[in-house]
C-alpha cells in the first residue's frame, strides 16, 4: 500500500471525475482498517507501518477530495514528481494576461513608494474584483471542462491535455498571488488566503 499512488489507494482509476460521497465512504473504511487506535497491541515495527499507511490514506483523501488539489496531484503524478525537491516553482504570468498584469504591477510598484490616491485605489480595487472573477472561472474550468477533457482523452491526446492543465494551474497560482498583492497594497490583507499560498503542494 505504501508504494501506491493516491488514486489506487482508493481503488480508483486515474480520472479526475470523482464521486466524493463514494470517496468518503472508502476513506472511512480504509481509515478504520489502518488507524493506529486499532493496532495498539501490535509490535513497534508493525505499529510504525500502520502509522505510515494511515498517514498515506489521510493525505490521499485530503488531496483527492479537493478538485484543484486533485488536478495538481495528477499532473505531478503523470510527470513523476511526487516527491518534492527544493522550493516550489514560482508561478509565472500566463502570456494571455501579460498586458493587463503589466499595468497592475506598475500600479503596485507605485503603491509601494507612496500612499495611494483615491483614483488609483479605486482602479486597483476594480482590477482586483476582475481578477477574482477570473480566478473563479479558472477554477471552474479546471474542475469541470478541463478535468472532463482529461478523463475523455485517448492516450495520444494526454500530453496536450496535461499541458493545458498545467497552464491553468499556473494561471490560477499567479492570479492568487496578484490578488493577495493587491489586497496588501490596498491594506486589506487576506491572511487566510496568504496562508493557503504558503501551503505548497502536497507531497508524498
Amino acid at each position: 500500500m505504501l508504494k501506491q499512488d493516491y488514486f489506487s489507494v482508493f481503488g480508483l482509476p486515474r480520472k479526475l471525475a470523482i464521486d466524493t460521497a463514494e470517496l468518503q465512504r472508502r476513506f472511512y473504511a480504509l481509515a478504520r482498517e489502518h488507524h493506529p487506535d486499532f493496532h495498539q497491541a501490535a509490535p513497534p515495527e508493525e505499529l510504525a507501518r500502520v502509522e505510515a499507511t494511515s498517514a498515506l490514506v489521510n493525505t490521499a483523501y485530503r488531496t483527492l477530495r479537493d478538485p484543484i488539489a486533485r488536478v495538481d496531484y495528477l499532473v505531478r503524478l503523470e510527470e513523476g514528481r511526487t516527491t518534492r525537491e527544493g522550493a516550489a516553482e514560482k508561478p509565472k504570468a500566463p502570456p494571455a494576461l501579460l498586458q493587463e498584469m503589466f499595468e497592475i504591477q506598475e500600479a503596485l510598484a507605485e503603491a509601494k513608494t507612496g500612499a495611494l490616491d483615491a483614483a488609483t485605489r479605486a482602479r486597483l480595487s476594480a482590477q482586483r474584483e476582475g481578477l477574482r472573477a477570473r480566478l473563479k472561472d479558472e477554477e471552474a474550468r479546471l474542475g469541470a471542462s478541463l478535468s472532463a477533457r482529461w478523463d475523455g482523452a485517448a492516450p495520444a491526446e494526454r500530453p496536450a491535455v496535461l499541458a493545458a492543465l498545467k497552464e491553468a494551474l499556473a494561471t490560477r497560482a499567479y492570479l492568487r498571488t496578484v490578488i493577495d498583492d493587491l489586497a496588501e497594497a490596498l491594506g486589506e490583507d487576506e491572511p487566510s488566503r496568504r496562508e493557503d499560498k504558503r501551503v505548497a503542494h502536497h507531497r508524498h
Binding site: Y28, P36, S54, P191, E195, R198
Partner: protein, 617 residues
C-alpha cells in the same frame, strides 16, 4: 490489555474516568469524600507536596508556594509567559528556554507540577480498582502545540503513567456526547475552561468522528475573566478606601496574599453572577473590609471583549472546514466558563441556534478520555476518531521564511517527505529548524526544535537526504532521515526549544520519589493546620475591627480560644487542632454577625437610602 484510565488534566480542575464494562458507559471516579473534581492546585509545603482541595484552600495564605493554573505554563518559554507571570504569585527562576518555578525552597518545572496532579488521580483510580494503574489517555486543548503536548506526556512519565494517547479536549467531549446523545451530522464543540479556549468542527457519521477543523487560543479562559474583574475591583478599592490604604501604607497590588484574596473573591462573584442578576462581594483586608454590589450587566461590560475574542477562532474554524454557521447541526458546550450567560448568548448568536449542554460540562471531557481509552484497549470497536493537527508545521528555509510541510487541520497521523542536500564539500551535518504556526516568518512562529542530521562526508550536493516528518495520532512530531545513496539512516539529534531532554525526564522521575507526596496522615495534619491558620487570621481581623462592638467577657473568651488554637497548631495532634479550630469558630460567631451588621449600616449611611432601595427592586 491492561486497564487504561482517561484523565482530563485541566487548568482549574482535573478528573479521572473509566468505562464501566457492565453498562458500557463512562464514569468519573470520585475521591473518598465523593468529590469528582480534583482542583489542579499543588502546594509545596515543608512536609511534602499537597494536591487538590487542601492545596486550594491555602492559596491565599501561602501564595508563593501554592501553584495553580500551571497548565498555562506547560511547554512554554520565558518570553511566552512574561505577561502571565505578572499576575501569578509564584516566583519564576530567571533564565532562558523552559520556564522553571521556585517554590517550597526548590525548583520545579511545569511538567513536574502537573505530574503531582496526575499522580493523585492515578492513586485515586488505584484505590477504586484495587490494582496498580500504569496507562492513561490524557486530554489537552486542541490548540496545544507540539511542545505543550510533549510536556503533558513528560508529566505522565514523571507520575509513573504511560500516556498511551493524547486526545484533544473538544474531540473527547464529542466522543462522550456521541456515545450518549448525539445524532449524526456536523457539530461544533465550544470549550471555554479556566485557561484555554478551543473550538472544533466535526462530522459524525457511522461511528466515525472526523474533525474537520479546529482553532482556539491557549491563553484565554475563566482565569482571564477573573483577572479583568479583579483589576477593576482593585481600582474601585483604591478609590473607596484610599484613606485606609494611605494610613497603613499598603499597596494591594504588591501584596500577593491580598491579590490572591481578590482573585478568589472575583471568581466567586463571577460564578454567582451566572445564576444571579446581582451579588455582593465582601473581602476582609488587614485594615478594612471591602464590600460592594456588582450586577451581571457590569460584569458583562468588563468581560465582553474577552468573550468576543472567542468568536474569531470560531469563524476561522468554520472557514477552514469550508462551512457556514448554517451548516452546523448541533453545538456542544464544554468547560466551566460556558456557564456564563453572555458566553451562551454570543455562541447562540454566532451559530443561530441554541447550544447543547445536557452532559455536565465539567465532566464531559474526562468521560470522553475514558471512551478513547476504551477504544484503545479494544473495548469499543465501532467508534473511530479522526483528529487533526491544529497548527501548520514547517521548516526554516532561506531568509527566515517558513516552508510549510503539513498544513493545519490535516488529519493525523500524517506525514510529509522532503529531500535535502549539502552546500559545502565534506559537510557532515545538516541542521533543520522545525517550527509550528500560521505566519510567514520563522520569527513569528513557534520554534519546536532543531534536528541535526549526521551523514558521511561527500561532495556538495551529492547527498540525498530524505527526511520524513510524521505527526502521530497524538499530534506529536517524529522525524526520520535517510541518506538515499548509502541507504543509511542518518542519526538525528533533537534539541527541543521548550522541552525536557530525555535525561532531564529521567532525573525528574527519580526526584519524584525523593520529594514524595506527603502521606495521608501528614496531608490531613497539613490540612488541619491550614484550616487553623485561616481561622486565626479571620479571628485576628475581627478582633481588631470589632473590639469595642462586643462586651469585654466575649472578647476574653475569643482571646482564650485563639490562644488555645495557637498552642494546638504548634503540635502534631490533628484532632486537637480540629477541635480548637471549631472552638474559635464558635467563639467568634457573634462578633462576625455584629461586624457584618456594622458594615451593612456603614454602607447605608454613606448613600441615600432610596438609592439602595431603588437598586434592590
Amino acid at each position: 490489555m491492561s486497564r487504561i484510565i482517561g484523565i482530563d488534566l485541566g487548568t482549574t480542575n482535573s478528573l479521572v474516568a473509566y468505562v464501566d464494562e457492565a453498562t458500557g458507559l463512562p464514569r468519573v471516579i470520585p475521591d473518598a469524600e465523593g468529590r469528582p473534581l480534583l482542583p489542579s492546585v499543588v502546594a509545596f509545603t515543608p512536609d511534602g507536596i499537597v494536591v487538590g482541595e487542601a492545596a486550594r484552600r491555602q492559596l491565599a495564605r501561602r501564595p508563593a508556594d501554592t501553584v495553580y493554573s500551571v497548565k498555562r505554563l506547560m511547554g512554554r518559554g520565558h518570553e511566552d509567559v512574561k505577561d502571565e507571570m505578572r499576575f501569578l504569585p509564584f516566583r519564576i527562576v530567571p533564565g532562558e528556554g523552559l520556564v522553571k518555578l521556585a517554590v517550597g525552597g526548590r525548583e520545579v518545572t511545569p511538567p513536574e507540577v502537573s505530574a503531582a496532579v496526575l499522580k493523585a488521580l492515578k492513586e485515586r483510580a488505584e484505590r477504586h480498582f484495587g490494582e496498580p494503574i500504569e496507562k492513561a489517555v490524557v486530554t489537552v486543548p486542541a490548540y496545544f502545540n507540539d511542545a505543550q503536548r510533549q510536556a503533558t506526556k513528560d508529566a505522565g512519565r514523571i507520575a509513573g503513567l504511560d500516556v498511551v494517547r493524547i486526545v484533544n479536549e473538544p474531540t473527547a467531549a464529542s466522543l462522550a456526547y456521541g456515545l450518549q446523545r448525539l445524532s449524526e451530522g456536523v457539530i461544533a464543540v465550544y470549550d471555554l475552561g479556566g485557561g484555554t479556549f478551543d473550538v472544533s468542527i466535526l462530522r459524525v457519521k457511522g461511528g466515525v468522528f472526523e474533525v474537520l477543523a479546529t482553532n482556539g487560543d491557549t491563553h484565554l479562559g475563566g482565569d482571564d475573566l477573573d483577572r479583568v474583574l479583579a483589576l477593576w475591583l482593585l481600582e474601585d478599592i483604591a478609590v473607596r478606601h484610599h484613606a485606609e490604604l494611605d494610613r497603613d501604607c499598603v499597596d494591594l497590588a504588591r501584596d500577593p496574599e491580598a491579590m490572591q484574596e481578590l482573585r478568589l473573591a472575583a471568581e466567586a462573584a463571577k460564578i454567582r453572577l451566572s445564576s444571579e442578576e446581582r451579588t455582593t462581594l465582601t473581602i476582609p483586608f488587614a485594615g478594612f473590609t471591602y464590600r460592594r454590589d456588582i450586577t451581571r450587566a457590569e460584569l458583562e461590560r468588563l468581560v465582553e471583549p474577552l468573550v468576543t475574542r472567542t468568536l474569531g477562532p470560531c469563524r476561522r474554524a468554520l472557514g477552514d472546514a469550508g462551512l457556514t454557521p448554517a451548516d452546523i447541526d448541533e453545538i456542544v458546550l464544554v468547560g466551566g466558563s460556558t456557564r456564563v450567560p453572555l458566553v451562551r448568548r454570543r455562541v447562540q448568536e454566532l451559530f443561530g441556534k441554541a447550544p447543547h449542554s445536557q452532559l455536565n460540562p465539567d465532566e464531559v471531557v474526562a468521560l470522553g478520555a475514558a471512551v478513547q481509552a476504551h477504544i484503545l484497549a479494544g473495548g469499543f470497536t465501532n467508534m473511530l476518531l479522526l483528529d487533526v493537527t491544529p497548527l501548520s508545521l514547517g521548516i526554516e528555509s532561506l531568509g527566515g521564511i517558513v516552508n510549510v510541510l503539513i498544513p493545519r487541520n490535516t488529519t493525523i497521523p500524517t506525514s510529509a517527505r522532503e529531500m535535502f542536500t549539502t552546500s559545502v564539500d565534506g559537510q557532515t551535518l545538516v541542521d533543520l529548524h522545525v517550527v509550528q504556526g500560521e505566519r510567514e516568518l520563522v520569527k513569528d512562529c513557534r520554534s519546536l526544535g532543531r534536528f541535526e542530521l549526521r551523514i558521511d562526508p561527500m561532495p556538495a550536493g551529492m547527498p540525498k537526504i530524505e527526511v520524513t516528518f510524521l505527526i502521530d495520532a497524538n499530534g506529536i512530531l517524529q522525524v526520520q532521515a535517510k541518506e538515499q545513496r548509502s541507504g543509511k539512516a542518518a542519526s538525528i539529534e533533537v534539541k527541543p526549544t521548550y522541552g525536557l531532554s530525555e535525561t532531564e525526564v529521567e532525573q525528574m522521575i527519580e526526584d519524584s520519589f525523593t520529594y514524595a507526596e506527603a502521606d495521608v496522615a501528614t496531608r490531613m495534619l497539613i490540612e488541619a493546620r491550614n484550616e487553623a491558620d485561616t481561622v486565626l487570621v479571620h479571628a485576628g481581623r475581627a478582633l481588631k475591627q470589632g473590639a469595642d462592638l462586643v462586651p469585654a467577657e466575649e472578647r476574653a473568651a475569643i482571646e482564650a480560644a485563639v490562644a488555645a488554637l495557637r498552642a494546638a497548631r504548634g503540635g502534631d495532634d490533628r484532632e486537637r487542632i480540629h477541635e480548637a479550630t471549631t472552638a474559635v469558630n464558635r467563639a467568634t460567631e457573634h462578633l462576625a454577625e455584629v461586624l457584618m451588621d456594622a458594615a451593612l449600616k456603614g454602607a447605608l449611611g454613606s448613600r441615600r437610602a432610596t438609592e439602595i432601595l431603588g437598586e434592590r427592586t
